[in-house]
Each structure stands twice: as C-alpha cells, then as structure tokens.
C-alpha cells in the first residue's frame, strides 16, 4: 500500500454529541477530510441525527439536511438533482446513514438510487443495531449477538444481511467495505468515491462501545480484530463484477478473540464460537473465490 497523507483540515468540529469511542463519528471526520467543503449531507434518523447537535447547532461545516429514516439515498439524489438543475455540478452529495436506515427501512430507496445510478455517495456506518433507539436488532446485527430485542437467552439466530453483494448486484460503479481501524484504506476509498461518477456505496464497520457493551478504548481494537479474524473482510467491487480484496488476512486470528472483548457476545459458549468460526470461514472462502474469479 502506497503511503498517503490524510488532510489536516477539520471540517467536523469537537463538541459533537457522540458517545466516547463512537466509530460513526470518526468515520464522518475522515469522510469530510477527503470530501472537503464542497459537500452536502443527507442524514436520516440515526445516531448521527443526534451527534450533529440540536437546532441551531451543527458539528459539521457543510450543509446538512436531516431527513426521514428511510430516505437518506433518495434525499441525497433529490439534493443532487436540485443542484444540477441549477447548474451546480461541482458539489458532492453524501447520504450518511446507520445500518438500520440502510439494511432495513431505507433499503428500497437505496435500491432505487443504485439502479438509476444516481450520482451520490451512500455511506453506511454500521454499528450492527438500532443504537439511537436503544440497541435493538437490525438485519445487520450478526449471528449470536445480544440486543434489547434479541435477549441473551434468545440471541440473533440469523446471519447478517450481505449488503455489499446486493448493492453489487445493481452493477453500480463502486461498492466497498471499509473499517475505521484501517484509515488509509478508508481514505483511499473516499477518494475513489469522490472521483467516481454515479452511485457509490461504502459500508463502514463502526463499533459502538455503548451498544456493544465494551470499553470505549476498545473501539478501534474491536474493528481491527473484526478484520484480522476475517469477520469483516475489507474489499471492493467495481461495476458489480470486479472484486478486489483490499486487506489480505493471511493468518487469521480465531473469532473468539474478537467476540470475547464485547459484552454483547458474553453469553456465547465454545460451541457458539465454533458455529461462528465455521460461518466466517465459509464466507471468506466464498469471497476469495469471487476475488480470484472476477478480477
């Protein structure tokens, strides 16, 4: 990986309302560093509708439109259309949503924007549950996780929805996963998205210490372990068919190392670890085949 410099300018200011260790806040900071001030944001109901601050404050010095839960993608498309209709072609519009607003309720509007290839960047900061409303499960919640609607004696029994594959199936120019634990890769992806016309989606793994029941200082570590255990592969897909693994994990750590630092997995037993390990191995294998076959 070639060295790159991360812009020094801060477009997001301190004083925002995120919890300690919020990776969703960190992701926004990186995105704005790359995208700069010629950017507009559409933010649906999610933690970020709180993080940015109450009226009349804002933690970002770019225009931000708060919109309904399921409308991040289409509000961004509408903003872009409104700008272009006025001859303003050099402003990037970014939809910035949580996993619930993306994997669940906002799914239809994302599919619409992707299919039309609307010229927006859609970022999902994935903290794997509805955190704004108090840690309820979403379809991005992983197998085995505790949430307030999947209690420890009945944790989530279905795997996480594979968002990137579904978006790739729309044959959009660029879709990728990324992690706050790998800022260079993340920055590069923001740059690529900025320089690509059409629909782009970046799925950012964004630990939430509050919702994951872990210490704030473990935020980045848990994100790094998710990659190093192959729980969260970092890759990209161009035009729906060209796969590229961005971070190769040659000697993966056992999934237990990732799971055991989080309270939301505390109820899991060795047998559960085994099931999760098998799932992770199988998914990785599947991805590697795609990476090898569709270069």
């Amino acid at each position: 990986m070639s060295k790159l410099t991360i812009p020094q300018e801060e477009i997001m200011s301190s004083g925002h309302l995120a919890c300690q260790g919020c990776a969703g806040a960190l992701a926004m900071r990186y995105m704005l560093k790359v995208f700069g001030k010629k950017t507009m944001l559409a933010v649906p109901a999610c933690c970020w509708s709180v993080i940015d601050g109450p009226w009349p404050y804002s933690a970002v010095s770019v225009p931000l439109f708060h919109t309904a839960f399921e409308t991040a993608a289409i509000t961004a498309s509408g903003l872009k259309a409104g700008l272009v209709a006025q001859g303003i072609n050099d402003v990037n519009v970014v939809a910035w949503a949580g996993d619930g607003g993306t994997f669940d309720i906002g799914f239809q509007a994302i599919s619409g924007a992707a299919e039309r290839n609307d010229d927006i960047l859609y970022v999902v900061y994935d903290n794997e549950a509805y955190m704004n409303t108090g840690i309820q499960r979403s379809s991005a919640t992983p197998y085995g996780a505790w949430t307030t609607t999947t209690p420890a004696n009945h944790p989530k029994d279905r795997p996480k929805k594979d968002l990137v594959e579904i978006i790739a199936a729309h044959r959009v120019p660029f879709v990728a996963t990324a992690s706050v634990a790998y800022p260079e890769d993340l920055i590069k992806k923001f740059e690529k998205a900025k320089n690509t016309k059409g629909f782009k989606l970046i799925h950012i793994f964004a630990p939430c210490p509050t919702g994951w029941k872990m210490a704030p200082e473990l935020s980045i570590e848990s994100a790094r372990l998710a990659v190093q255990t192959r729980v969260f592969p970092v890759y990209e897909v161009e035009n729906g068919v060209h796969y590229k693994l961005n971070i190769n994990v040659k000697n993966p750590k056992p999934v237990g190392e990732y799971l055991k630092i989080q309270g939301r997995f505390r109820h899991l037993k060795e047998d559960d670890y085994k099931v999760i390990q098998e799932n992770v191995d199988r998914e990785w294998e599947l991805l590697m085949r795609k990476v090898e076959t569709f270069k």
Binding site: F65, A109, R116
Partner: protein, 385 residues
C-alpha cells in the same frame, strides 16, 4: 393559445409553464398521464428539468424535498394510495418550509380497489401543513399550478393542487394555455433566502427540544394566515394578466339567496346548473364553492353565510365517526360568529366515484328546502341498503 386537453395534461402544462426544474414521480392511475406527458416534455427538451423516476411515492416526495431544499423549483404528482404512502414526507415538506407544488388526483382509498374519485385521500392529509386547492375545471388546474408556485414561494409552504379523478383528469376541455413569456413575468425564477448552500452551510431539520419546537409550528400557522392574503392578491393579479381571477371561495347567485349550497371541485361546477334550474322555479338559492380548503376561508364563509335561512353542504368525503369534512369545518367556522346561525344540512354523496349528477344535487337541495332542520348531523344521499 386555446387547446382541448385532459385535466392531467393541464397539470403537465402548468408544470411546464412554471418552468419546474426537477420532477420526481411514481405512476398511479389516474395520475399517470401527468407523468407520461412530463416524461415526453423533458425528453424532447420542451421542458428543461431533471425527471427522477423513483421507485415509490415515498421517495417521490423525499426527492422533491431534497431538490427543493437545494433551491430548485420542484414538482411531483400523485393520487390516493400514493399520497397515503407519502404522508410522512408531506409533513417533511411543510415542516421544512419548502414551496413544493404537487398535483393530487382525487381518488378514493382502497379497499376495495377503486380508481374513481372522492376526496378522502387529500383530506386525510388535511393537517400536514400543505395548502389545498380544489379545482373545478381543467383551466383552473393549469392556472392553479402556476399560482401555487407564486403563493408557495412567498409563504414557504407547499401547495397541493387537487383535481377529480376522470371527471377532470381524463376529460378533455378547452383550456387557454398562456404564453410562457407572460407566465415568466408573473412567476419569476425561484430565489430562496436560505437553501442548502456550501457557501452558507447550515443544518436543516435538526433535533428540537420542547423549548423551541412550538415556535416553528406557530410560524407555520402564521404563514397559513399570510397565505390567505397572498392567494387573494395573486389571484387578482393573475386575473389582470390572464383574464381569470381566483380567490379562496367563489360565489354564484348568492346575493339575494335564502339558501346557500356549499360544494367543492367538480360537484360545485355541476351545481351551478342546478342553481339556475331552481332559480327558474323561484327558489332563492345560491352556491359557494370552496376553492381553497387550507388555509380555510373562515371569515369569507361566515360573511356569505350569515343571515341566510339555510345552508346545505355536499361532501364527497367522510370523516368516519363524525360527518362530512367540509360540513364539519363550515359548521366549526360558524360557532364563534356573532350573527344568526342558519340550520346546516350535511350530505354525503358521490363516494368512490358514484356520479353526482344535477339530479342528485337537485334532490339534495330540495330535501333541505322541505325541512326546517336536519334530522341528523349526517345525511347519506343515494345509499342502497
């Protein structure tokens, strides 16, 4: 230029003449002809607008909200189920104070499936903060789109222009299509004071505490009050320029009338013939058409109704568990007025597109004329049981 066109196409021409810059819409009978014609107009360059063919009405309104917030003149159109699906975003458009104009073709709500007209779709969106204009003919439909932008852009609230399914949407009428240069004079380009602007970054619609929320709502009500004046002023100006004046209500032969019939949309245009007929028989009846339902023309209605002997309201809608909605609102408008309060008869007719013919209207008025006061708060016309 005079053309014979369908009501739906009158909407499309209204949007064209208003030089809308963005359109986002989803097809639904009987609105489809509007979007089909707008697709042609944008495809062949007649209309320089970006048309986003969205995947749902919820997205149609969300897209329109986005474009309007960015500073563009934004348009959409829908009907019934589509309007219901949009509901959340109707609040958003009004709460964000965006001067969007939307055509809604009045169609009854399912189930049972129906495509025919009544007003329960738009009246279910009564309290979202949109102005509502009920049109009686295709000319008024076209003119009201232009007027909609003219008013909305001054009061920062959206306008819903409403036309009856089929009775207008799919019926051809002679319509004067004004010269676009003249419309430009009447309706200058949209220049919002604040918008999503990278040179003036703000956040829009952020979290509000109980300490500030109410003031935003107070200001919406103030805007509605202001709109009453603006609608009348602009309606007059429009009349001076184009020869067709519009107000909040329209009176027909009310001057010496003992009995006033109140109706809206095409029921009102049909009612005119009935008024003439009854007048020939010596009945002193007149008609008030409620054109603008939000903001509600309370003072105007009190003024025409005070001192009359009877008031008859025909509703092509119903608030289940209460009465017809226009009836309810007219009655409510009266409660605190000083003058005498004539007995008020409320009839429900024409739901789900059942024809409201001159005969139906005549029977309704005659029924009221024959009674001292209504036997109940709600009188169903023509229900087969």
């Amino acid at each position: 230029m005079k053309k014979v066109i369908l009501g739906d196409h009158a909407v499309s021409y209204g949007a064209l003449l208003s030089r809308v810059q963005t359109i986002a819409a989803y097809p639904i009978t009987p609105q489809t002809l509007i979007v089909e014609r707008l697709s042609e107009m944008t495809a062949n360059g007649e209309l320089d607008a970006i048309f986003t063919k969205v995947e749902s009405e919820h997205s149609a309104m969300a897209s329109t909200v986005g474009s309007s917030a960015a500073g563009a003149r934004a348009f959409t159109a829908t009907s019934a189920q589509g309007l219901a699906l949009m509901h959340e975003m109707l609040h958003w458009a009004a709460g964000a104070r965006l001067p969007i104009v939307m055509a809604n073709v009045n169609r009854a709500m399912a189930p049972g499936w129906t495509i025919w007209t009544d007003q329960n779709d738009s009246l279910s969106a009564r309290d979202v903060g949109w102005m509502q204009v009920y049109c009686q003919n295709n000319q008024e439909v076209l003119d009201s789109i232009i007027l909609g932008y003219k008013v909305s852009e001054q009061v920062d609230l959206p306008t819903m222009v409403i036309l009856d399914a089929f009775v207008l949407s799919h019926t051809a009428e002679g319509v004067d299509i004004p010269d676009i240069k003249k419309v430009d004079e009447f309706l200058p380009p949209y220049k919002p004071e604040i918008k999503m602007d990278i040179n003036d970054p703000r956040s829009f619609g952020a979290l509000t505490s109980p300490d500030v929320y109410m003031e935003f709502r107070y200001k919406m009500q103030q805007a509605m009050d202001k709109a009453k004046k603006v609608i009348v002023e602009e309606g007059k100006k429009f009349g001076e320029m184009f020869g067709r004046e519009y107000g909040l209500i329209e009176e027909y032969k009310t001057e010496d009338a003992d009995t006033i019939l109140i109706a809206s949309a095409t029921v009102a245009s049909t009612a005119r013939a009935v008024i003439d007929e009854l007048r020939e028989k010596g009945e002193k009846v007149g008609l008030v058409r409620i054109r603008v339902f939000r903001p509600f023309p309370t003072e105007e209605i009190i003024k025409v109704l005070e001192g009359r002997k009877k008031v008859v309201v025909i509703d092509r809608n119903i608030s289940f568990g209460k009465t017809g909605i226009f009836f309810d609102e007219v009655k409510g408008a009266f409660y605190n007025s000083k003058g005498n309060k004539p007995p008020m008869f409320g009839y429900i007719a024409g739901l789900g597109g059942r024809d409201v013919t001159p005969k139906v209207i005549r029977e309704i008025v005659e029924d009221a004329l024959n009674k001292d006061k209504p036997e109940s708060e709600i009188i169903w016309k023509g229900v087969k049981l």
